[in-house]
Amino acid sequence: MAQNASDDIGYFLLLDEVHKADLGTIRVWSNLKIAFDGKDIWVKDFTHQQIHSVEVKSIPYKTIFYSKGAKLYLHNSLLPDRNIPASLLWTQIDRALPISLPDLNHNYFGIQEKISIALVASETEAEAVAMITSLDVLKQYIETAPAIRLEHLFWTILQNKDVLLIGKPLLPITGQTYWRQEDVLLPVGFDFDLSILAGKLIDTINPGRRGIVLWNQENRYLFIDKNAFQPLSLSSFRNTVNHPLFYTGI
């Protein structure tokens, strides 16, 4: 089988030791080999694509050679520049350039620092399981609703005018919908900015999971006791709005 002509060409990169840190961007290419020759750093085994990539082009003060036979030619040159450096010790680039983490500052506690909790638009799809609607809208629907649609739903009244419904499937009425993350209801399409901290946050504001936390888009939350929810039915609705302690003019 004929050999691919381009395979014979190897690419070499020469860099002064001072600029060693600039190799960080190509360190992830595990096919590369690296060798140290006094104050020079040699990198070899680039593929054709790698040598023409932005990562390599953006390394300053480099010299690129290509090899043919035992000679090295400067990039874009037809005259041999030097021999391939012999007797070098080639190692994997990620072994030769280890990562060092900054030392831990034992005197730093970060007590003063605070993080702010915010909601951001989220890409992850989540099913809506709760909705806020007004008493009027619910009244319109519920008076003629099939009983089966009201089963499995729980409801409570917020601030004497809005209704919070929880359960699946939701009713076909207009309203703001929410999805549920454990015991927190978040507006659909939104998630915590620092979603990894959600569990910690819920434990802080809802210890023992006694209630439902309703988070709104203005970044405020409402704590609702779980006992406040009642199964939704026409009689439950009528008993509530006709109750003497409940004046909304409905």
């Binding site: 003629t144 609703a145 099939p146 649609r149 076909p172 009689s235």
Partner: protein, 217 residues
């Protein structure tokens, strides 16, 4: 000491859905009837909170009392049978008022428990003459008889479905008891499908399957 056995029986039936009988007393004393009617009216008002229309129907004392007496006597006759078969018709008279939401729902307060008594009767003796008599009542007031399997050609849907709200309740009950034979009737099928909406598969899988086998939808 309990005096009003009739009231006590109806009360435990309504509250605990159990039948407690206090001896073989088929005759109901006139003076105890008022208390029963009052109790049933209260129960009726509570149930009308679920009526799917802002204007609830009136309580019909005559219809409710008939149903209460029927269920009381049927329970008595189920346990203590000392009468001849010919007496049964006299003990269990028919009641044929026009089916309006008022009469149907008043009757239903007590008559809804008749299917269970019928099932018991059939277990004891499937040849019992009482079964036919009671089935006739439940075929007429068939809103109460939805859980019981009746032959559909006996049932009159025209008057039953004349009122929108009553029809709505009827369909609700078909779905609650998942009565496929009723749901597949021409008079009911579209309504049942409408109630289930796009969640038919979630609420009642079998109905959705039948509906699609039929190919009409």
């Amino acid at each position: 000491m309990i005096n009003n056995y009739f009231l006590e029986m109806i009360k435990t039936l309504r509250k605990q859905e159990e039948v407690v009988l206090y001896g073989n007393i088929l005759h109901v004393n006139e003076k105890y009837i008022i208390a029963v009617v009052d109790f049933l009216e209260q129960e009726f008002r509570n149930e009308m909170l679920e009526y799917p229309d802002p204007v609830a129907p009136e309580f019909n004392p005559e219809a409710a009392l008939w149903a209460a007496e029927t269920i009381y006597k049927a329970a008595q006759l189920l346990l203590y049978r000392e009468n001849k078969e010919t007496d049964l018709e006299i003990l269990l008279p028919d009641y044929k008022a026009v089916q309006t939401s008022s009469t149907v729902l008043s009757v239903d307060l007590c008559l809804r428990f008749l299917p269970d008594i019928l099932t018991q009767l059939k277990v004891i003796d499937s040849e019992d003459a009482m079964i036919g008599i009671l089935e006739r009542k439940i075929a007429y007031w068939h809103y109460s008889g939805i859980p019981y399997t009746l032959t559909s050609d006996q049932l009159d849907f025209e008057t039953m479905f004349a009122e929108r709200a009553l029809k709505h309740l009827y369909i609700n009950r078909i779905i609650t008891y998942k009565k496929m034979d009723l749901a597949m009737l021409n008079s009911c099928r579209d309504e049942v499908a409408g109630h289930l909406g796009i969640f038919a598969d979630h609420f009642w899988k079998e109905f959705n399957k039948e509906k699609q086998v039929d190919g009409k939808y």
